[in-house]
Symmetry: C2
Subunit: 117 residues, 2 copies
DNA sequence: CCGCATCCGTGAGGATACTG
DNA sequence: CAGTATCCTCACGGATGCGG
């Protein structure tokens, strides 16, 4: 889709696309509990590839939501943490995660009913 | 990715994927203001194709988040509305949208700074 | 008016191998 | 350990046309 107009929907999209990214949601949620190393994130997020973890963290850093701290030891150590603004988004995301956990049985039941016939 | 394990991350994914869908977010947000006809949604959501609007609505209906009411006039009329559970998700989504609107300038500025060099 | 079916291009993202 | 680089797939989604 071409986004050429200044329709409200379009102005929101670039920000929502970040939130809409499933990996971003999971990363933001994890970092809500405190800073994590790269490898900790990779282990915690089942199924994420190295590539996608790096891309996700770069995007979040670019948007000023996550900070990246390199400790030049050997082997190197990199910690990721939420920025203050990132914390506020993480709080929203936490609400979403809670919603998803609470209503997962309902959604699953709805799907079974819908798919029945 | 194959989801074969029962890791918490995987159990959440199927529900979060609904929220992660950018079209779903926009539809849920619109329906938060009250029921809408198919054609109203299509006009309101800049850039959505007929195909994607239909698919999005079907998914939301399957998940028990949106109800579909057909009025068999001629031409037919179809109204979509949030279910009670859909309302609760729409509320979460509204929080996200608000966040996105409030922090759009911050995110835009962060991106410019990041991309500068 | 509301949708489904079909075709088809593109790009997101997985797998793998390699560096500082 | 924390990435980068490359290849390659496949499914997301746009365009179009038809049907109730």
């Amino acid at each position: 889709m071409r986004v050429t107009e200044d329709h409200p929907t379009c102005r929101l999209r670039d920000v929502l696309d970040r939130v809409g990214d499933k990996w971003s949601v999971l990363v933001l949620n994890l970092l809500g509990d405190g800073p994590r190393r790269y490898s900790e994130l990779q282990r915690a997020i089942e199924g994420i590839s190295q590539r996608m973890l790096t891309l996700t963290l770069r995007s979040l850093e670019r948007d000023g939501l996550v900070s990246r701290t390199v400790t030049p030891t050997s082997p190197p150590r990199v910690d990721y943490a939420l920025t203050p603004v990132g914390e506020t988004l993480s709080a929203q995301v936490a609400g979403l995660i809670t919603w998803a956990e609470e209503h997962r049985p309902y959604v699953a039941a709805s799907r079974r009913r819908y798919d029945a016939p």
